[in-house]
Symmetry: C2
DNA sequence: CGATGCCTTGAGTGAATTCAACGCTTGTGG
DNA sequence: CCACAAGCGTTGAATTCACTCAAGGCATCG
Protein backbone atom coordinates (compact mmCIF):
# COMPACT_ATOMS: atom_id res chain seq x y z
CA UNK A 1 0.00 0.00 0.00
CA UNK A 2 1.40 3.40 -0.91
CA UNK A 3 0.19 4.79 2.39
CA UNK A 4 2.55 2.60 4.31
CA UNK A 5 5.50 4.61 3.03
CA UNK A 6 3.82 7.92 2.54
CA UNK A 7 5.81 9.33 5.38
CA UNK A 8 9.08 8.68 3.58
CA UNK A 9 8.09 9.89 0.15
CA UNK A 10 6.57 13.09 -0.79
CA UNK A 11 5.01 11.74 -3.94
CA UNK A 12 3.29 8.36 -4.32
CA UNK A 13 3.03 7.33 -7.98
CA UNK A 14 -0.74 7.41 -7.87
CA UNK A 15 -0.54 11.11 -7.20
CA UNK A 16 2.40 11.82 -9.45
CA UNK A 17 2.01 15.41 -10.67
CA UNK A 18 3.53 14.48 -14.03
CA UNK A 19 0.63 12.17 -14.85
CA UNK A 20 -1.68 15.16 -14.75
CA UNK A 21 0.09 16.69 -17.73
CA UNK A 22 -1.29 16.09 -21.18
CA UNK A 23 2.22 15.58 -22.38
CA UNK A 24 2.40 12.07 -20.90
CA UNK A 25 0.40 9.02 -21.81
CA UNK A 26 -2.20 7.49 -19.52
CA UNK A 27 -1.30 4.52 -17.38
CA UNK A 28 -3.51 1.52 -16.72
CA UNK A 29 -4.24 0.61 -13.11
CA UNK A 30 -2.09 -2.46 -13.54
CA UNK A 31 0.88 -0.48 -14.80
CA UNK A 32 0.50 2.09 -12.07
CA UNK A 33 0.45 -0.65 -9.49
CA UNK A 34 3.68 -2.14 -10.81
CA UNK A 35 5.46 1.18 -11.03
CA UNK A 36 4.40 1.98 -7.48
CA UNK A 37 6.11 -1.15 -6.29
CA UNK A 38 9.06 -0.55 -8.61
CA UNK A 39 9.74 2.82 -7.06
CA UNK A 40 12.17 2.44 -4.18
CA UNK A 41 12.35 6.00 -2.96
CA UNK A 42 13.12 9.57 -3.80
CA UNK A 43 16.34 11.51 -4.06
CA UNK A 44 16.62 15.26 -3.80
CA UNK A 45 19.84 17.11 -4.49
CA UNK A 46 21.02 20.67 -4.82
CA UNK A 47 22.06 22.61 -7.88
CA UNK A 48 25.54 21.54 -8.91
CA UNK A 49 25.36 18.12 -7.26
CA UNK A 50 26.53 15.09 -9.23
CA UNK A 51 23.86 12.44 -9.58
CA UNK A 52 25.63 9.79 -11.65
CA UNK A 53 29.33 9.39 -12.29
CA UNK A 54 30.97 8.13 -15.48
CA UNK A 55 32.78 4.85 -14.99
CA UNK A 56 30.78 3.70 -11.98
CA UNK A 57 28.12 1.03 -11.60
CA UNK A 58 24.82 2.32 -10.34
CA UNK A 59 22.28 0.05 -8.68
CA UNK A 60 19.54 2.50 -9.55
CA UNK A 61 17.82 4.20 -12.38
CA UNK A 62 16.05 7.50 -11.89
CA UNK A 63 13.19 9.48 -13.28
CA UNK A 64 13.25 13.22 -12.91
CA UNK A 65 10.26 14.27 -10.86
CA UNK A 66 11.09 17.97 -10.76
CA UNK A 67 14.04 20.14 -11.68
CA UNK A 68 16.59 20.08 -14.46
CA UNK A 69 19.83 18.17 -14.99
CA UNK A 70 22.36 17.52 -17.69
CA UNK A 71 24.30 14.56 -19.01
CA UNK A 72 27.97 15.01 -19.95
CA UNK A 73 31.27 13.34 -20.73
CA UNK A 74 34.79 14.55 -20.00
CA UNK A 75 38.08 14.15 -21.80
CA UNK A 76 41.18 13.58 -19.71
CA UNK A 77 42.34 17.18 -19.96
CA UNK A 78 39.02 18.48 -18.71
CA UNK A 79 37.26 19.31 -21.95
CA UNK A 80 33.56 18.71 -21.36
CA UNK A 81 30.76 17.83 -23.75
CA UNK A 82 27.17 18.07 -22.58
CA UNK A 83 25.05 15.51 -24.44
CA UNK A 84 21.58 16.39 -23.33
CA UNK A 85 19.41 17.91 -20.65
CA UNK A 86 17.06 15.98 -18.39
CA UNK A 87 13.59 17.37 -17.81
CA UNK A 88 10.78 16.08 -15.60
CA UNK A 89 9.71 12.66 -16.83
CA UNK A 90 13.11 11.83 -18.28
CA UNK A 91 14.84 8.60 -17.36
CA UNK A 92 18.45 8.63 -16.18
CA UNK A 93 20.93 5.80 -15.90
CA UNK A 94 19.28 3.20 -18.13
CA UNK A 95 22.48 2.80 -20.13
CA UNK A 96 24.48 2.05 -17.03
CA UNK A 97 22.02 -0.52 -15.79
CA UNK A 98 21.78 -2.36 -19.11
CA UNK A 99 25.43 -2.24 -20.07
CA UNK A 100 27.28 -2.28 -16.78
CA UNK A 101 29.44 0.76 -16.47
CA UNK A 102 28.07 4.25 -16.98
CA UNK A 103 29.61 6.11 -19.87
CA UNK A 104 28.55 9.58 -18.79
CA UNK A 105 27.92 11.68 -15.70
CA UNK A 106 24.82 13.59 -14.68
CA UNK A 107 24.69 16.84 -12.75
CA UNK A 108 21.84 18.91 -11.35
CA UNK A 109 21.27 22.26 -13.00
CA UNK A 110 18.61 23.25 -10.48
CA UNK A 111 17.54 21.61 -7.23
CA UNK A 112 16.16 18.33 -8.48
CA UNK A 113 14.01 15.50 -7.16
CA UNK A 114 14.32 12.01 -8.60
CA UNK A 115 12.27 8.85 -8.30
CA UNK A 116 14.58 5.95 -7.54
CA UNK A 117 14.10 2.51 -9.08
CA UNK A 118 16.11 -0.60 -8.40
CA UNK A 119 17.80 -2.33 -11.27
CA UNK A 120 17.06 -5.71 -9.74
CA UNK A 121 13.38 -5.27 -10.49
CA UNK A 122 13.98 -4.38 -14.11
CA UNK A 123 13.92 -8.04 -15.03
CA UNK A 124 10.39 -8.51 -13.80
CA UNK A 125 9.35 -5.40 -15.70
CA UNK A 126 10.40 -7.03 -18.94
CA UNK A 127 8.86 -10.36 -17.99
CA UNK A 128 5.56 -9.22 -16.69
CA UNK A 129 4.81 -5.84 -18.21
CA UNK A 130 5.31 -5.84 -21.95
CA UNK A 131 3.78 -2.40 -22.29
CA UNK A 132 6.32 -0.90 -19.93
CA UNK A 133 9.13 -2.78 -21.62
CA UNK A 134 7.95 -1.25 -24.87
CA UNK A 135 7.98 2.16 -23.19
CA UNK A 136 11.57 1.69 -22.07
CA UNK A 137 12.61 0.90 -25.61
CA UNK A 138 10.62 3.86 -26.84
CA UNK A 139 12.39 6.10 -24.34
CA UNK A 140 15.79 4.87 -25.46
CA UNK A 141 14.85 5.39 -29.12
CA UNK A 142 13.69 8.90 -28.33
CA UNK A 143 17.00 9.79 -26.70
CA UNK A 144 18.71 8.46 -29.80
CA UNK A 145 16.56 10.68 -31.97
CA UNK A 146 17.44 13.73 -29.89
CA UNK A 147 21.14 12.90 -30.07
CA UNK A 148 20.84 12.58 -33.86
CA UNK A 149 19.55 16.12 -34.05
CA UNK A 150 22.27 17.42 -31.71
CA UNK A 151 24.87 15.70 -33.83
CA UNK A 152 23.46 17.33 -36.93
CA UNK A 153 23.62 20.69 -35.19
CA UNK A 154 27.16 20.44 -33.92
CA UNK A 155 28.43 18.87 -37.11
CA UNK A 156 26.71 20.92 -39.76
CA UNK A 157 24.94 23.99 -38.41
CA UNK A 158 26.71 27.35 -38.07
CA UNK A 159 27.36 28.78 -34.63
CA UNK A 160 24.31 31.03 -34.90
CA UNK A 161 22.00 28.29 -36.16
CA UNK A 162 23.31 25.89 -33.58
CA UNK A 163 22.79 28.25 -30.68
CA UNK A 164 19.29 29.10 -31.88
CA UNK A 165 18.58 25.39 -32.18
CA UNK A 166 19.75 24.57 -28.68
CA UNK A 167 17.78 27.38 -27.08
CA UNK A 168 14.70 26.42 -29.08
CA UNK A 169 15.12 22.82 -28.04
CA UNK A 170 15.43 23.59 -24.35
CA UNK A 171 12.60 26.07 -24.55
CA UNK A 172 10.28 23.55 -26.18
CA UNK A 173 11.22 20.77 -23.80
CA UNK A 174 10.64 23.07 -20.86
CA UNK A 175 7.26 24.19 -22.12
CA UNK A 176 6.10 20.62 -22.66
CA UNK A 177 6.40 19.82 -18.97
CA UNK A 178 5.59 23.22 -17.55
CA UNK A 179 2.32 23.79 -15.78
CA UNK A 180 0.22 26.04 -17.94
CA UNK A 181 1.38 29.02 -15.88
CA UNK A 182 2.15 31.97 -18.11
CA UNK A 183 5.15 33.10 -16.09
CA UNK A 184 8.33 33.98 -17.94
CA UNK A 185 10.51 30.91 -18.10
CA UNK A 186 14.16 31.60 -17.69
CA UNK A 187 16.39 28.75 -18.71
CA UNK A 188 18.69 28.39 -15.70
CA UNK A 189 22.13 27.73 -17.13
CA UNK A 190 25.43 29.51 -17.64
CA UNK A 191 27.01 30.38 -20.95
CA UNK A 192 29.64 27.79 -20.10
CA UNK A 193 26.94 25.11 -20.16
CA UNK A 194 25.77 26.29 -23.56
CA UNK A 195 29.34 26.42 -24.84
CA UNK A 196 29.97 22.85 -23.68
CA UNK A 197 26.80 21.70 -25.38
CA UNK A 198 27.41 23.53 -28.63
CA UNK A 199 31.03 22.57 -29.10
CA UNK A 200 32.02 26.25 -29.03
CA UNK A 201 34.34 28.25 -26.81
CA UNK A 202 32.90 30.33 -24.02
CA UNK A 203 33.89 33.60 -25.67
CA UNK A 204 32.41 32.73 -29.00
CA UNK A 205 29.23 31.48 -27.38
CA UNK A 206 28.94 34.81 -25.63
CA UNK A 207 29.32 36.71 -28.87
CA UNK A 208 26.80 34.49 -30.63
CA UNK A 209 24.26 34.96 -27.85
CA UNK A 210 24.85 38.66 -28.15
CA UNK A 211 23.92 38.53 -31.81
CA UNK A 212 20.66 36.78 -30.94
CA UNK A 213 20.02 39.29 -28.16
CA UNK A 214 20.59 42.20 -30.56
CA UNK A 215 17.88 40.79 -32.75
CA UNK A 216 15.59 40.71 -29.68
CA UNK A 217 15.14 36.95 -29.93
CA UNK A 218 16.50 36.24 -26.46
CA UNK A 219 17.58 38.09 -23.36
CA UNK A 220 20.16 37.13 -20.78
CA UNK A 221 18.75 37.70 -17.36
CA UNK A 222 19.15 36.59 -13.76
CA UNK A 223 21.76 34.00 -14.58
CA UNK A 224 19.83 32.39 -17.38
CA UNK A 225 18.33 32.83 -20.81
CA UNK A 226 14.86 34.07 -21.59
CA UNK A 227 13.41 33.30 -25.01
CA UNK A 228 11.57 36.34 -26.35
CA UNK A 229 10.68 35.26 -29.88
CA UNK A 230 10.41 31.49 -29.98
CA UNK A 231 9.11 31.32 -33.53
CA UNK A 232 11.80 33.49 -35.03
CA UNK A 233 14.46 31.70 -33.00
CA UNK A 234 13.25 28.41 -34.42
CA UNK A 235 13.31 29.84 -37.92
CA UNK A 236 16.91 30.98 -37.50
CA UNK A 237 17.91 27.51 -36.35
CA UNK A 238 16.47 25.76 -39.39
CA UNK A 239 15.07 23.08 -37.14
CA UNK A 240 11.59 21.62 -37.43
CA UNK A 241 10.95 21.51 -33.72
CA UNK A 242 9.85 18.71 -31.45
CA UNK A 243 6.94 16.67 -32.66
CA UNK A 244 5.81 14.57 -29.77
CA UNK A 245 2.39 13.40 -28.89
CA UNK A 246 1.64 11.78 -25.56
CA UNK A 247 4.83 10.11 -24.49
CA UNK A 248 5.42 7.42 -21.93
CA UNK A 249 7.51 7.62 -18.82
CA UNK A 250 8.23 5.29 -15.96
CA UNK B 1 9.25 -24.78 -41.09
CA UNK B 2 12.27 -22.95 -42.39
CA UNK B 3 12.51 -25.40 -45.27
CA UNK B 4 9.21 -24.24 -46.66
CA UNK B 5 10.68 -20.91 -47.59
CA UNK B 6 14.28 -21.90 -48.02
CA UNK B 7 14.02 -21.33 -51.71
CA UNK B 8 13.34 -17.65 -51.22
CA UNK B 9 15.98 -16.94 -48.63
CA UNK B 10 19.59 -17.56 -48.77
CA UNK B 11 20.01 -17.64 -45.02
CA UNK B 12 17.65 -19.27 -42.54
CA UNK B 13 18.14 -17.95 -39.03
CA UNK B 14 19.22 -21.32 -37.74
CA UNK B 15 22.21 -21.13 -40.05
CA UNK B 16 22.85 -17.44 -39.63
CA UNK B 17 26.58 -16.91 -40.11
CA UNK B 18 26.58 -14.13 -37.54
CA UNK B 19 25.65 -16.54 -34.76
CA UNK B 20 28.88 -18.37 -35.35
CA UNK B 21 30.86 -15.30 -34.28
CA UNK B 22 31.97 -15.04 -30.68
CA UNK B 23 30.99 -11.41 -30.79
CA UNK B 24 27.29 -12.22 -30.48
CA UNK B 25 25.47 -13.85 -27.61
CA UNK B 26 23.99 -17.33 -27.81
CA UNK B 27 20.31 -17.76 -28.52
CA UNK B 28 18.01 -20.29 -26.86
CA UNK B 29 16.07 -22.66 -29.12
CA UNK B 30 12.91 -20.82 -28.18
CA UNK B 31 14.33 -17.45 -29.15
CA UNK B 32 15.69 -18.80 -32.38
CA UNK B 33 12.33 -20.25 -33.21
CA UNK B 34 10.61 -16.92 -32.66
CA UNK B 35 13.15 -14.94 -34.65
CA UNK B 36 12.85 -17.42 -37.50
CA UNK B 37 9.15 -16.71 -37.68
CA UNK B 38 9.73 -12.99 -37.16
CA UNK B 39 11.94 -12.79 -40.21
CA UNK B 40 9.87 -11.99 -43.24
CA UNK B 41 12.53 -12.07 -45.91
CA UNK B 42 15.80 -10.70 -47.16
CA UNK B 43 16.70 -7.55 -49.02
CA UNK B 44 19.86 -7.09 -51.03
CA UNK B 45 20.87 -3.75 -52.49
CA UNK B 46 23.81 -2.22 -54.30
CA UNK B 47 26.37 0.25 -53.07
CA UNK B 48 24.85 3.69 -53.03
CA UNK B 49 21.25 2.49 -52.75
CA UNK B 50 18.99 4.15 -50.22
CA UNK B 51 17.50 1.70 -47.73
CA UNK B 52 15.42 3.97 -45.52
CA UNK B 53 14.29 7.53 -46.19
CA UNK B 54 13.88 10.31 -43.66
CA UNK B 55 10.30 11.41 -43.22
CA UNK B 56 8.73 8.16 -44.40
CA UNK B 57 6.96 5.40 -42.52
CA UNK B 58 8.57 2.02 -42.91
CA UNK B 59 6.62 -1.18 -42.28
CA UNK B 60 9.87 -3.01 -41.66
CA UNK B 61 12.91 -3.09 -39.49
CA UNK B 62 16.13 -4.59 -40.73
CA UNK B 63 19.20 -6.34 -39.43
CA UNK B 64 22.36 -6.13 -41.47
CA UNK B 65 23.37 -9.61 -42.51
CA UNK B 66 26.38 -8.59 -44.56
CA UNK B 67 27.83 -5.38 -45.89
CA UNK B 68 28.09 -1.86 -44.56
CA UNK B 69 25.70 1.08 -44.47
CA UNK B 70 25.40 4.50 -42.90
CA UNK B 71 22.74 6.57 -41.23
CA UNK B 72 22.47 10.28 -42.01
CA UNK B 73 20.38 13.42 -41.85
CA UNK B 74 20.21 16.31 -44.29
CA UNK B 75 19.60 20.01 -43.86
CA UNK B 76 17.45 21.77 -46.44
CA UNK B 77 20.41 23.23 -48.29
CA UNK B 78 22.04 19.84 -48.67
CA UNK B 79 24.48 19.81 -45.77
CA UNK B 80 24.75 16.21 -44.61
CA UNK B 81 25.62 14.74 -41.23
CA UNK B 82 26.39 11.05 -40.97
CA UNK B 83 25.40 9.78 -37.52
CA UNK B 84 26.72 6.27 -37.53
CA UNK B 85 27.67 3.27 -39.61
CA UNK B 86 25.77 0.00 -39.67
CA UNK B 87 27.75 -3.23 -39.50
CA UNK B 88 26.57 -6.85 -39.67
CA UNK B 89 24.29 -7.54 -36.73
CA UNK B 90 23.14 -3.93 -36.43
CA UNK B 91 19.47 -3.10 -36.35
CA UNK B 92 18.06 -0.42 -38.65
CA UNK B 93 14.76 1.40 -38.51
CA UNK B 94 13.75 0.71 -34.91
CA UNK B 95 13.23 4.43 -34.28
CA UNK B 96 10.88 4.72 -37.22
CA UNK B 97 8.82 1.75 -36.13
CA UNK B 98 8.49 2.89 -32.53
CA UNK B 99 7.94 6.57 -33.16
CA UNK B 100 6.17 6.72 -36.49
CA UNK B 101 8.13 8.77 -38.94
CA UNK B 102 11.80 8.08 -39.58
CA UNK B 103 14.10 10.93 -38.66
CA UNK B 104 17.07 9.80 -40.72
CA UNK B 105 17.97 8.02 -43.92
CA UNK B 106 20.14 4.96 -44.47
CA UNK B 107 22.34 4.27 -47.48
CA UNK B 108 24.43 1.28 -48.49
CA UNK B 109 28.18 1.82 -48.47
CA UNK B 110 28.86 -1.60 -49.97
CA UNK B 111 26.51 -4.16 -51.46
CA UNK B 112 24.43 -5.10 -48.45
CA UNK B 113 22.04 -7.85 -47.45
CA UNK B 114 19.40 -7.23 -44.81
CA UNK B 115 17.04 -9.47 -42.86
CA UNK B 116 13.55 -8.02 -43.02
CA UNK B 117 11.22 -8.05 -40.03
CA UNK B 118 7.64 -6.82 -39.92
CA UNK B 119 6.71 -4.18 -37.43
CA UNK B 120 3.34 -5.83 -36.88
CA UNK B 121 5.03 -8.73 -35.10
CA UNK B 122 6.98 -6.47 -32.79
CA UNK B 123 4.10 -6.42 -30.36
CA UNK B 124 4.21 -10.15 -29.83
CA UNK B 125 7.95 -9.93 -29.32
CA UNK B 126 7.42 -7.68 -26.33
CA UNK B 127 4.54 -9.77 -25.04
CA UNK B 128 5.99 -13.19 -25.38
CA UNK B 129 9.75 -12.87 -25.40
CA UNK B 130 10.99 -10.73 -22.56
CA UNK B 131 14.60 -11.63 -23.26
CA UNK B 132 14.35 -10.32 -26.81
CA UNK B 133 12.53 -7.22 -25.62
CA UNK B 134 15.42 -6.66 -23.26
CA UNK B 135 17.80 -7.10 -26.16
CA UNK B 136 15.99 -4.47 -28.19
CA UNK B 137 16.31 -2.01 -25.34
CA UNK B 138 19.94 -2.96 -24.96
CA UNK B 139 20.51 -2.32 -28.65
CA UNK B 140 18.88 1.09 -28.44
CA UNK B 141 20.97 1.97 -25.36
CA UNK B 142 24.11 0.89 -27.17
CA UNK B 143 23.38 3.15 -30.11
CA UNK B 144 22.87 5.96 -27.62
CA UNK B 145 26.24 5.25 -26.08
CA UNK B 146 27.94 5.35 -29.47
CA UNK B 147 26.25 8.63 -30.31
CA UNK B 148 27.43 10.06 -27.00
CA UNK B 149 31.00 9.32 -27.97
CA UNK B 150 30.54 10.77 -31.44
CA UNK B 151 29.08 13.90 -29.92
CA UNK B 152 32.08 14.19 -27.62
CA UNK B 153 34.36 13.83 -30.62
CA UNK B 154 32.69 16.38 -32.84
CA UNK B 155 32.13 18.81 -30.02
CA UNK B 156 35.41 18.66 -28.17
CA UNK B 157 38.14 16.76 -29.99
CA UNK B 158 40.49 18.46 -32.46
CA UNK B 159 40.30 17.59 -36.14
CA UNK B 160 43.24 15.20 -35.80
CA UNK B 161 41.91 13.49 -32.67
CA UNK B 162 38.46 13.30 -34.17
CA UNK B 163 39.63 11.72 -37.40
CA UNK B 164 41.79 9.22 -35.52
CA UNK B 165 38.81 8.42 -33.33
CA UNK B 166 36.47 7.79 -36.24
CA UNK B 167 38.91 5.55 -38.08
CA UNK B 168 39.64 3.65 -34.88
CA UNK B 169 35.96 3.24 -34.25
CA UNK B 170 35.19 1.92 -37.70
CA UNK B 171 38.24 -0.31 -37.61
CA UNK B 172 37.25 -1.85 -34.29
CA UNK B 173 33.64 -2.33 -35.30
CA UNK B 174 34.77 -3.96 -38.51
CA UNK B 175 37.16 -6.29 -36.75
CA UNK B 176 34.51 -7.39 -34.28
CA UNK B 177 32.35 -8.86 -37.01
CA UNK B 178 35.08 -9.94 -39.42
CA UNK B 179 35.79 -13.58 -39.92
CA UNK B 180 39.20 -14.29 -38.43
CA UNK B 181 40.73 -13.90 -41.88
CA UNK B 182 43.95 -11.93 -41.71
CA UNK B 183 43.36 -10.12 -44.97
CA UNK B 184 43.96 -6.39 -45.01
CA UNK B 185 40.69 -4.67 -44.29
CA UNK B 186 40.17 -1.54 -46.27
CA UNK B 187 37.41 0.65 -44.98
CA UNK B 188 35.32 1.29 -48.11
CA UNK B 189 34.33 4.93 -47.92
CA UNK B 190 35.18 8.24 -49.53
CA UNK B 191 36.73 11.23 -47.84
CA UNK B 192 33.40 12.95 -48.32
CA UNK B 193 31.81 10.35 -46.04
CA UNK B 194 34.42 10.96 -43.39
CA UNK B 195 34.03 14.72 -43.72
CA UNK B 196 30.27 14.44 -43.30
CA UNK B 197 30.74 12.30 -40.21
CA UNK B 198 33.41 14.47 -38.62
CA UNK B 199 31.72 17.81 -39.17
CA UNK B 200 34.69 19.00 -41.25
CA UNK B 201 35.00 20.24 -44.81
CA UNK B 202 36.20 17.86 -47.47
CA UNK B 203 39.42 19.78 -47.99
CA UNK B 204 40.32 19.88 -44.34
CA UNK B 205 39.47 16.22 -43.93
CA UNK B 206 41.85 15.46 -46.77
CA UNK B 207 44.65 17.43 -45.14
CA UNK B 208 44.02 15.80 -41.79
CA UNK B 209 44.10 12.32 -43.32
CA UNK B 210 47.34 13.31 -44.97
CA UNK B 211 48.84 14.12 -41.59
CA UNK B 212 47.84 10.70 -40.31
CA UNK B 213 49.22 9.08 -43.45
CA UNK B 214 52.54 10.93 -43.06
CA UNK B 215 52.85 9.38 -39.61
CA UNK B 216 52.26 5.99 -41.24
CA UNK B 217 49.14 5.35 -39.16
CA UNK B 218 46.87 4.93 -42.13
CA UNK B 219 47.05 4.63 -45.90
CA UNK B 220 44.53 5.68 -48.51
CA UNK B 221 44.15 2.91 -51.01
CA UNK B 222 41.73 1.53 -53.57
CA UNK B 223 39.01 3.98 -52.70
CA UNK B 224 39.17 3.43 -48.98
CA UNK B 225 41.26 3.68 -45.86
CA UNK B 226 43.63 1.06 -44.51
CA UNK B 227 44.59 1.26 -40.85
CA UNK B 228 48.28 0.51 -40.45
CA UNK B 229 48.88 1.22 -36.76
CA UNK B 230 45.64 0.70 -34.88
CA UNK B 231 47.18 1.14 -31.43
CA UNK B 232 48.89 4.39 -32.20
CA UNK B 233 45.83 5.68 -34.01
CA UNK B 234 43.77 4.96 -30.92
CA UNK B 235 46.33 6.73 -28.75
CA UNK B 236 46.19 9.82 -30.95
CA UNK B 237 42.41 9.88 -30.67
CA UNK B 238 42.39 9.85 -26.88
CA UNK B 239 39.55 7.34 -26.97
CA UNK B 240 39.32 4.26 -24.78
CA UNK B 241 38.04 1.99 -27.52
CA UNK B 242 35.02 -0.26 -27.68
CA UNK B 243 34.43 -2.45 -24.69
CA UNK B 244 31.82 -4.94 -25.66
CA UNK B 245 31.41 -8.49 -24.61
CA UNK B 246 28.97 -10.81 -26.29
CA UNK B 247 26.21 -8.61 -27.57
CA UNK B 248 22.70 -9.48 -28.65
CA UNK B 249 21.16 -9.03 -32.04
CA UNK B 250 17.82 -9.85 -33.56
C1' DC C 1 35.82 44.59 1.49
C1' DG C 2 38.49 41.40 -0.72
C1' DA C 3 37.18 36.93 -2.94
C1' DT C 4 34.81 34.49 -6.43
C1' DG C 5 31.83 33.47 -10.34
C1' DC C 6 29.89 34.97 -14.42
C1' DC C 7 29.30 37.92 -18.33
C1' DT C 8 31.52 41.05 -21.59
C1' DT C 9 34.84 43.05 -24.84
C1' DG C 10 38.92 43.84 -27.82
C1' DA C 11 43.04 42.25 -29.98
C1' DG C 12 45.82 38.87 -32.05
C1' DT C 13 46.31 34.18 -33.55
C1' DG C 14 45.28 29.92 -35.42
C1' DA C 15 42.23 26.67 -37.40
C1' DA C 16 39.08 25.44 -40.81
C1' DT C 17 36.59 27.00 -44.78
C1' DT C 18 35.82 28.40 -49.49
C1' DC C 19 37.54 28.90 -54.01
C1' DA C 20 39.99 27.24 -57.71
C1' DA C 21 42.49 24.19 -60.17
C1' DC C 22 44.76 19.86 -61.61
C1' DG C 23 45.66 14.78 -62.02
C1' DC C 24 44.13 10.27 -62.07
C1' DT C 25 40.97 6.65 -62.89
C1' DT C 26 36.69 4.71 -64.60
C1' DG C 27 33.05 4.37 -67.54
C1' DT C 28 30.54 5.54 -71.76
C1' DG C 29 29.20 6.61 -76.26
C1' DG C 30 30.64 7.81 -80.85
C1' DC D 1 39.88 3.12 -79.99
C1' DC D 2 39.54 7.68 -78.78
C1' DA D 3 37.07 11.64 -76.72
C1' DC D 4 34.69 13.08 -73.13
C1' DA D 5 32.45 13.36 -68.78
C1' DA D 6 32.14 12.20 -64.03
C1' DG D 7 33.89 11.00 -59.54
C1' DC D 8 37.49 11.20 -56.32
C1' DG D 9 41.73 12.71 -54.26
C1' DT D 10 45.12 16.42 -53.86
C1' DT D 11 47.08 21.00 -53.43
C1' DG D 12 47.77 26.14 -52.86
C1' DA D 13 45.93 30.67 -51.84
C1' DA D 14 42.82 33.72 -49.78
C1' DT D 15 39.30 34.39 -46.51
C1' DT D 16 36.39 33.76 -42.64
C1' DC D 17 35.35 31.79 -38.53
C1' DA D 18 36.32 30.51 -34.08
C1' DC D 19 39.83 30.28 -30.58
C1' DT D 20 43.06 31.95 -27.06
C1' DC D 21 44.70 35.58 -24.33
C1' DA D 22 43.90 39.34 -21.56
C1' DA D 23 41.40 42.44 -19.05
C1' DG D 24 37.49 44.73 -16.95
C1' DG D 25 32.73 45.13 -14.97
C1' DC D 26 29.29 43.67 -12.04
C1' DA D 27 27.06 41.17 -9.05
C1' DT D 28 27.02 37.90 -4.77
C1' DC D 29 28.89 36.10 -0.64
C1' DG D 30 31.64 35.18 3.38
Amino acid sequence: MPDAVAGKWHTPCAKCPLRALKHFREFSADELDFVSRFKAGELSVERGATILVEGTHSPHIYTVLSGLGFRYKLLEDGRRQIMNYAFPGDLLGLQGVLMGELDHSVEALTPITLCVFERSKLESLFERHASLAYDLTWIAAREERILDEHLLSIGRRSALERTAYLLSYIHQRGNAVAGSGGAKKIIPLTQQHLADTLGLSLVHTNKTLRRLAERRLIRWQDGGCEVLEADELLRVSGWEGLKETARPFI
